[in-house]
Amino acid sequence: MTNPSSTASGALMIEARGVEKWYPNGFQALRGVDLTVSQGEVVVIMGPSGSGKSTFIRTFNALEDFQKGSIVVDGIALSNDVRNIDAVRREVGMVFQQFNLFPHLTVLENLTLAPVLVRKRPKAEVERRARQLLERVGIHEQAEKYPGQLSGGQQQRVAIARSLSMEPRILLFDEPTSSLDPEMVQEVLAVMQELARDGMTMVVVTHEVRFARQVADRVVLMADGQVVEEAPPEQFFTNPQHERSKQFLSQIA
């Protein structure tokens, strides 16, 4: 069960085999996708829009269901069993393209809501930890503000801190910088880079080539619901093997 292309060593955190998904209208979004992610690994998924990359990582925490294949996350097989789904979601954090912060709660309350309700931790302890997390992403001064008062970059950093508040073992990023103004992309990428350095297991859907080059252990290119190429970043960006990869790289360059 070892992955030859993995640079990090450690237990298998995500193992997806032959995942296929059809939307109710008959469109097949995923056509047999395989992916393994080891502990501490950073995997970047790239690909043109409509390639199924967002849909694919959203199956990891059961925001999307799938019809064929199997996904095991941190030893828990994803099935229709609701208890399994809740168990997986507690271990997997997710950062969305649109931030999805809760606008009616303060920044601090955004961070404390889930640990208090789901993990049943005492509120004082959760708040102390939340403030530490906010400090880690560099926005501890804004703890009492509402999300609407923050810039896009600050909101996305709060969203990262919020997903960390549940102490997940895996973080999923669904195009975390795609709806940010250009000057705010860097501050979010810097936080993600630091997380990767601290050993967080991360699966990142993004178009940021520089981030993929500097941080990723592996780059996966998806097109038309399939994995086209999977390689270490250096090899992927300098010497892609597949025609589809070359075409994609020429388009985003």
Binding site: G93, F96, L101, F102, H104, L113, L117, V118, Y146
Partner: protein, 401 residues
């Protein structure tokens, strides 16, 4: 400063009312119209109208045929309501009396002095109204002085005061627990209107919420059940449902719940309003982006908690104006109860106007009804606007900053 203010006022008047020749003409015509209509109305109200019809029947308009020797219970309830209002008001506002509060206080005091005087109540009754107004304002002052900020457990408990008071009020009105029972058919006038509308308002909200959630449910039976209920109710006129309810609710509801015509009507109003509230809530739910539920679920919150803590607070804020609009409609719809023979405000009014002694005094009676309903609806509207401001995180944080 005063004179400067006056100058500015003149300038502002000129700018807003006489900026151009056309503006001036429009202003003059409108002022003329208003003066003419207002003058005619005042001439009628002061010199031609015969307010005896209201003065003589004021108790009937207020409580219907509620037994005279039991009316102390209603006075007690009114005092309790005044105290609770003062308490909530004071705790919310603290020591400050912003302009709105001062206007409200003056209006309240003025009404308590003038209305009983106008109704030519006995001195004892007039004094009671003064005492109740004084109680409200006194508690408001005291609660603002000492009750703000309230220690957290009390502050969280305060909203509970109202449902408790509602139950106490229902016991006081209808009897039981050692009090002499007063049959619902003896309630009337404003009392009947308020009991019916508050009952329906309180119950239609949770019911409407459940229907709105049911309509979005993934369980087909629940979804189609909610859709059919909502569309059936919205497709039928209330008056039809009221007559229908008088005939069938006795079979549909467990015996104790709708023992007589009054309660059957209250349930019909509730079921009717719930369908409209459900649509208001549904529009609120639709306004919350899908990502909110996804983010909550991704954090591990189960669906009920995600609804309660993330989706509903946002949805209900959007739905609030439409919901309160529905409550106001409901209050006005209670007048239909007179058509099924209940003595709500309009019902009492019709019996009064049918009395040969007050023949031809319809204008006075209808004007009274209009004013009473306007007061109730204005109170609901003001309350909802205050709530909206309070629930809006943008104004909230602006207030904090």
């Amino acid at each position: 400063m005063e004179r400067l203010g006056a100058d500015r006022w003149v300038l502002r008047l000129r700018r807003e009312l006489f900026a151009s020749r056309t503006d001036g003409v429009i202003t003059l015509v409108l002022v003329g119209l208003l003066l003419g209509l207002g003058g005619a109305f005042l001439r009628w109200a002061l010199f031609q109208a015969d307010w005896a019809v209201v003065q003589v029947n004021s108790t009937l308009f207020a409580v219907g045929r509620y037994p005279l020797d039991q009316q102390w219970r209603l006075w007690l309830l009114t005092s309790l309501l005044a105290a609770a209002t003062g308490l909530s008001w004071g705790v919310l506002r603290g020591r400050d009396w912003p302009p709105n509060d001062r206007i409200a206080a003056v209006l309240l005091g003025g009404l308590a002095l003038l209305v009983p005087l106008f109704l030519q109540l006995s001195f004892a009754l007039q004094a009671r109204w003064w005492a109740i107004a004084l109680l409200l304002l006194g508690v408001r002052w005291a609660a603002g002085r000492w009750g703000n900020p309230l220690p957290p457990p009390w502050r969280r408990g305060l909203p509970l005061l109202w449902p408790v008071l509602y139950l106490v009020g229902m016991v006081l009105i209808s009897g039981g627990l050692g009090l002499m029972p007063v049959r619902p058919s003896d309630w009337g006038g404003l009392l009947m209107t308020l009991v019916q509308s508050t009952f329906a308002i309180l119950l239609c909200f949770p019911l409407g919420l459940a229907l709105a959630l049911g309509r979005r449910s993934e369980l087909p039976l629940l979804r189609w059940g909610s859709v059919i209920y909502i569309e059936f109710i919205r497709g039928a006129p209330l008056i039809t449902l009221l007559f229908l309810g008088q005939n069938i609710l006795g079979f549909l509801l467990p015996g104790g719940l709708a023992p007589d015509r009054v309660w059957r009507a209250a349930w019909v109003l509730t079921f009717f309003a719930a369908a409209y509230v459900a649509e208001a809530v549904r529009s609120g739910l639709a306004a919350v982006p899908r990502g909110q539920m996804e983010a909550a679920r991704a954090l591990g919150l189960p669906v009920p908690q995600a609804l309660i803590h993330v989706v509903l607070p946002q949805a209900l804020r959007v739905a609030l104006p439409a919901t309160v609009g529905q409550f106001i409609t409901l209050l006005q719809d209670t007048t239909l109860l007179s058509l099924i023979g209940l003595l709500d405000l309009l019902g009492v009014a019709r019996t009064v106007m049918a009395n040969p002694a007050f023949l031809g005094k319809n204008a006075e009676v209808y004007l009274l009804l209009a004013v009473l309903f306007w007061c109730c609806c204005a109170a609901l509207g003001l309350g909802s606007r205050a709530l909206e401001t309070r629930l809006n995180p943008n104004t909230l944080s602006a207030a904090r900053a």
